[in-house]
């Protein structure tokens, strides 16, 4: 059973991401959610999800730090991370790749793109 963790502090964005991934959910993928960085890291360590959607601007440890912590831990370093960034923040990209993020999706995101990327990365982690 595969799991995807969605991390965003805004409930409606979490809901939109969950809904974008409904097709995968119907195929048995479990969706987990977290509203801040600390909670996210706890879930990552405990559940070892197959993929993490990670917003950058989240309370209690931002997305970069969560990503870095995940990639620094041998137990979780292979989990792919998709960073969610706001439009046109080139600087974010630089910091994101330093933190070891695998992909970026800019907000407002394209739900179809979210689904397609999730599918690709899940297939690779199988």
């Amino acid at each position: 059973m595969q799991t995807i963790l969605i991390v965003d502090d805004e409930p409606h964005i979490r809901l939109l991401l969950e809904q974008s991934l409904e097709e995968l959910e119907n195929q048995g993928v479990v969706l987990l959610t977290a509203g801040d960085g600390k909670q996210a890291l706890d879930i990552i360590k405990k559940e070892k999800p197959n993929l993490v959607f990670l917003d950058i601007m989240i309370p209690r440890m931002n997305g970069f730090d969560v990503c870095r912590a995940l990639k620094d831990d041998a137990a979780t370093k292979d989990i792919p991370v998709i960073l969610l960034t706001a439009k046109g923040q080139e600087f974010d990209r630089q910091k994101g790749s330093e933190a070891g993020a695998d992909l970026y999706i800019t907000k407002p995101f394209d739900p179809d793109e979210v689904l397609a990327r999730a599918r690709e990365l899940l297939r690779m982690s199988e």
Binding site: H12, L15, L16, Q19, E22, T33, D110, P111, D112
Partner: protein, 472 residues
């Protein structure tokens, strides 16, 4: 749409916790089963009573336990109802969000586009990606022909023009253009407005390209096979066209600006830049079609030019002439004059055309004095020594405007008063400025004059009174 799956609902952390609490509260051997009997939570007991978990009269699972476990079934049913509502809301929200994301990317793509055809192509591309169709086109109103003309199209061909002239079928596009309201026509064969083209279109949508206050064109989307276009499709099309209209308006503006720039740079060769500016800004007062008008005309000629020419190689003469003309035109422009033409070494300039002026006589005299003075102060000693100009100025009614054949038009002036101006010039000695009585009357308080007398002009019965402008 998506069936309510109990297992899925209970995989949500919050729901799972709530269900767990319920089971613990009951404090007995209870389990939750899927519709097909698979245990999702708790432990099964063979002797247990099965209570259906019902959602809108549909059984989505079972709670197995004692008689009182029925309470758990209804509690879990209400959890499911809540989840279903949440999902429905999420689905609805996602649809809106999709539109938002689409619009966002679309705007990003077209916002900086200044090429009209490119904008139209992008609009079509985006429309075709998101709405089922076999063809799509962008039509714009051609201001001159009053036709809606296709500027970009994709898929099966449309009729290239839709005329908007009354009495002719204006089609659905024409109707939308006039009403400014988008339409869905799912069955064109039952719509009398539909104009058949080369290819059959069974269903179509048409939306107006609306700028702030007017409709500039339409966007068509059509399908060969009967299709049911929905209100949601139309909403999306309207959204795209609203954005496209602004960008298209911008592109049209840019194109006109370019055209204007070209006209301007053409004009600037023979009209002073400030006059060109006035022409471009106040279209109302400027007429290029020939009309009768009172203007002042200035003729300037180099005395004994033919003799001068003989003393120099032709290339040298051309070089000196170019320098001389450049300075003279500069002075004419400075005083708001329009360069009419060069004839050999002669310069013809107009004042009060194409931009009207109440002080054209004064401007012409000031220009003439300026020309004489500039000539004396040119850096080239050879020009100073060999070019001596006589200037004649007359004012009166002439026909002025664009005259010529369609292949070659000149902005020029025609009439007897022109001939009088030319005659005055031919009488003027080097350094002399001669004017007619009409010019003298208009400016006698402004300059000093010497009365010369009357001369006969070829082909005219009356004689012309001549005055010389005295200047230092």
């Amino acid at each position: 749409m998506a069936e309510i799956n109990l297992k899925k609902i209970l995989s949500q952390q919050a729901n799972r916790d709530a269900a767990n609490d319920i089971l613990v509260l009951l404090g007995e051997t209870v389990c939750i089963q899927d519709t097909d009997g698979t245990v999702i939570m708790g432990a099964a007991d063979d002797a247990a009573v099965k209570h259906a978990i019902q959602l809108s009269n549909e059984t989505i699972g079972w709670v197995c336990g004692s008689d009182s476990a029925g309470t758990a079934a209804s509690l879990i049913a209400s959890l499911a109802a809540g989840e279903r509502e949440r999902r429905a809301l999420a689905r609805e929200t996602l649809e809106r969000y999709k539109e938002l994301a689409l619009l966002y990317r679309f705007i990003e793509k077209i916002a900086l586009c200044l090429n009209l055809n490119e904008v139209a192509k992008l609009v079509i591309e985006e429309t075709r990606k998101n709405i089922a169709n076999t063809s799509a086109s962008v039509m714009l109103l051609n201001q001159r022909t009053r036709n809606l003309e296709i500027i970009a199209a994709a898929g099966k061909e449309y009729s290239p023009k839709t005329t908007l002239k009354p009495g002719v079928g204006i089609g659905i596009a024409g109707t939308v253009f006039f009403t400014g309201k988008a339409e869905i026509v799912n069955n064109t064969s039952s719509d009398s407005r539909y104009v058949k083209g080369a290819n059959r279109t069974a269903s179509l949508m048409c939306a107006p390209l609306k700028t702030r206050d007017k409709v500039i064109g339409v966007i068509n989307v059509g399908s060969e096979k009967p299709t049911v276009y929905t209100a949601a499709n139309l909403r999306l099309l309207n959204m795209l066209t609203a954005q496209a209209a602004l960008v298209i308006e911008n592109a049209v503006f840019h194109e006109n600006k370019l055209k204007e720039e070209r006209v301007k740079s053409n004009l600037e060769r023979y009209i002073a830049p400030q006059v060109v500016k006035a022409i471009m800004e106040s279209k109302a007062n400027i007429v290029f079609t020939p009309e009768s008008r009172r203007i002042t005309v200035l003729f300037s000629d180099i005395r004994g030019f033919t003799n001068t020419c003989e003393k120099q190689p032709p290339e040298k003469i051309v070089e000196q002439l170019n320098e001389y003309f450049t300075h003279m035109v500069d002075v004419i422009f400075t005083h708001g004059g329009t360069l009419n033409k060069f004839v050999g070494d002669m310069i013809v300039a107009l004042f009060g055309a194409p931009a009207k002026s109440d002080t054209s006589e004064k401007q012409a005299i000031e220009a003439a004095i300026g020309m004489q003075k500039r000539l004396q102060s040119l850096p080239s000693a050879w020009i100073r020594n060999n070019f001596h100009t006589g200037i004649g100025i007359n004012a009166g009614e002439v026909v002025v405007g664009n005259i010529g054949s369609p292949h070659h038009m000149d902005y020029t002036a025609i009439g007897d008063e022109m001939n009088i101006g030319s005659r005055l010039q031919s009488m003027a000695q080097g350094g002399q400025i001669l004017v007619s009585r009409s010019v003298y009357e208009a400016t006698k308080t402004l300059f000093s004059f010497k009365e010369i007398g009357s001369v006969q002009v070829k082909g005219k019965n009356t004689s012309v009174e001549v005055f010389e402008v005295l200047y230092q």
